[in-house]
């Protein structure tokens, strides 16, 4: 209950400050078009996604956590439209185990709102993650306690869909290229929550 009260109080304080700022005729809205990212454009991005940071095991002996999580190349296509930056990303090269018994791909759809802050633009908004795991079936023989056993490889296709919250930043290197970073929280309201980081190089290839 205290959290709810604190949230309401904080919201009232911030909105009051915003109202006062607007009433004095010095709204900062005009600055949104003065930043380097104010220009609308289509862009392509390439970089790395780091999933489940500090959540998975990296050492079979100690079980210690893998700070960077699981990484995968991510390519994205998006548009900067006004203060929004919708974007669709996909891991074109699937993640596969050595025996290629299954493949895992990730599609990410983002709709963040941009806040220009000088050269830097911060992003906040919803994001939708679709992890698809597909297997071709078959059998494999593995150790099983005192001997070996035959197990089945996954033979179906399954998609896990998560709505997450995105915070990020974009920094322009020059008029055509920039660096885009995202921190996404999946299942934020539960103990299941995971932190995921994306770092990509952006190419603004077409001005709108």
């Amino acid at each position: 209950m205290k959290k709810i009260i604190y949230s309401i109080v904080l919201l009232v304080i911030i909105l009051s400050a915003e109202y006062a700022s607007a009433a004095s005729g010095s709204s900062s809205r005009s600055s949104s078009s003065s930043g380097s990212s104010g220009k609308s454009a289509l862009f392509l991005e390439a970089g790395q996604s780091f999933v489940n940071m500090n959540k998975t095991t990296k050492d079979s002996a100690t079980g210690s956590s893998n700070l960077l999580g699981t990484s995968q190349l991510l390519f994205s296509l998006g548009a900067k439209i006004g203060s929004f930056r919708p974007e669709v990303g996909y891991t074109i090269i699937p993640r596969k185990p050595e025996d290629k018994s299954y493949s895992s791909t990730l599609m990410i759809i983002q709709l963040p709102y941009l806040f220009d802050f000088g050269q830097l633009s911060f992003k906040a908004g919803p994001t939708y993650w679709i992890q698809k795991i597909s297997g071709e079936g078959g059998n494999v023989t593995l150790s099983n306690g005192t001997g070996t056993s035959t197990f089945s490889k996954p033979g179906l296709s399954s998609s896990a869909k998560n709505l997450g919250l995105l915070l990020g930043a974009y920094y322009p290197i020059n008029s055509s290229f920039g660096i885009d970073t995202d921190l996404t929280v999946l299942a934020p309201m539960t103990k299941k929550r995971s932190f995921n980081f994306i770092a990509q190089l952006t190419w603004n290839f077409y001005d709108l």
């Binding site: 709810i4 949230s7 911030i14 400050a17 915003e18 010095s26 003065s34 930043g35 489940n52 959540k55 998975t56 079979s60 100690t62 079980g63 699981t70 596969k96 185990p97 050595e98 025996d99 018994s101 299954y102 709102y113 806040f115 802050f117 000088g118 919803p126 992890q131 795991i133 297997g135 079936g137 494999v140 593995l142 099983n144 005192t146 056993s149 035959t150 089945s152 490889k153 996954p154 033979g155 179906l156 399954s158 998609s159 896990a160 869909k161 998560n162 709505l163 997450g164 919250l165 322009p172 020059n174 999946l186 934020p188 309201m189 539960t190 103990k191 299941k192 929550r193 990509q200 190089l201």
Partner: protein, 273 residues
């Protein structure tokens, strides 16, 4: 200020971060790759702790809780494991398919006989399941080695609490439908060291997401409905607070900070052609 960084150099650095992955989860049993898992989002395990080789029920329950927490830690899965109290179901009933409580965890004082183990061979637990006509898991049980017979070296009372948590977490994986993994980082690898911490590898998470995928928005949005934070109000309240804390507050603070910059700091210089 514009930094002179070559874009292709950056792309090369990103590409260098590509990592290999050796994970390879499997499905328990051979010749059936199309198993569909338990058809529930909340799987309640019962416990028969009548004879746990000297371990108290409270200790076993805590061990089970630790094991469940590991599996309940995967954001891409909608499955939640729950402990549902005790039962009198025996190993024989569970194996015969006549038990009323499935899935069930049973301390088995005749473990070596029940599972046809040689006795002192290092096996401390067994997990298994049965399918219905739709290829869905409908029954499953986990036997813990509580055998105090001639060779009791590997019964659960001789193992540390952390080892027993690992054991139960691994065997629960079998009850969920997973076979062994060839990834020695994985919880479902056939063997573990005593020093290992209880945690899932990416391979285990992939396995759980494969058989028990989360499906938002059909499932509770943003994971709400299983709130871990100490307030009540249901999923809508949770979602509202999530939006508030994660979106609205940062957005408004950032928006306000622009005014702060304009007033107290010099406005950023504009780039000119």
């Amino acid at each position: 200020m514009i930094y002179k960084i070559r874009p292709l150099t950056l792309l090369g650095l990103f590409a260098l971060l590509i990592t290999g992955d050796s994970s390879a989860f499997t499905i328990s049993g051979s010749g059936n790759s199309n198993i569909k898992g338990w058809q529930t989002k909340e799987l309640t395990f019962k416990l028969n702790a009548t004879n746990c080789a000297g371990l108290s029920q409270a200790v076993v329950e805590q061990t089970i809780a630790d094991a469940f927490e590991a599996w309940n830690n995967v954001p891409t899965s909608n499955l939640k494991l729950v402990y549902g109290g005790t039962t009198t179901t025996t190993a024989a009933q569970a194996a015969a398919g006549t038990a009323t409580d499935y899935p069930v965890i049973i301390c088995d004082p005749a473990f070596n006989t029940t599972t046809s183990q040689a006795g002192n061979n290092g096996v401390t637990g067994v997990g298994t399941f049965a399918l219905n006509a739709n290829n869905e898991i409908s029954k499953g049980y986990l036997l813990l080695n509580a055998d105090t017979g001639a060779s009791p070296t590997y019964n659960i009372s001789t193992q540390s609490t952390s080892s027993n948590s690992l054991l139960i977490a691994h065997e629960v994986g079998h009850v969920l439908g997973f076979g062994h993994s060839s990834d020695n980082f994985a919880l479902m690898y056939f063997q573990y060291t005593a020093s290992r911490q209880l945690a899932l590898a990416q391979d285990d998470m992939d396995a759980l997401a494969y058989l028990y995928p989360r499906n938002e928005p059909s499932d509770k949005l943003l994971g709400c409905g299983t709130l871990s934070t100490p307030f009540s109000g249901g999923p809508w309240m949770g979602m509202g607070l999530a939006l508030f804390w994660y979106l609205l507050v940062p957005a408004l603070i950032l928006r306000s900070s622009r005014k702060f910059t304009q007033v107290f700091l010099k406005a950023p210089a504009q780039a000119h052609a």
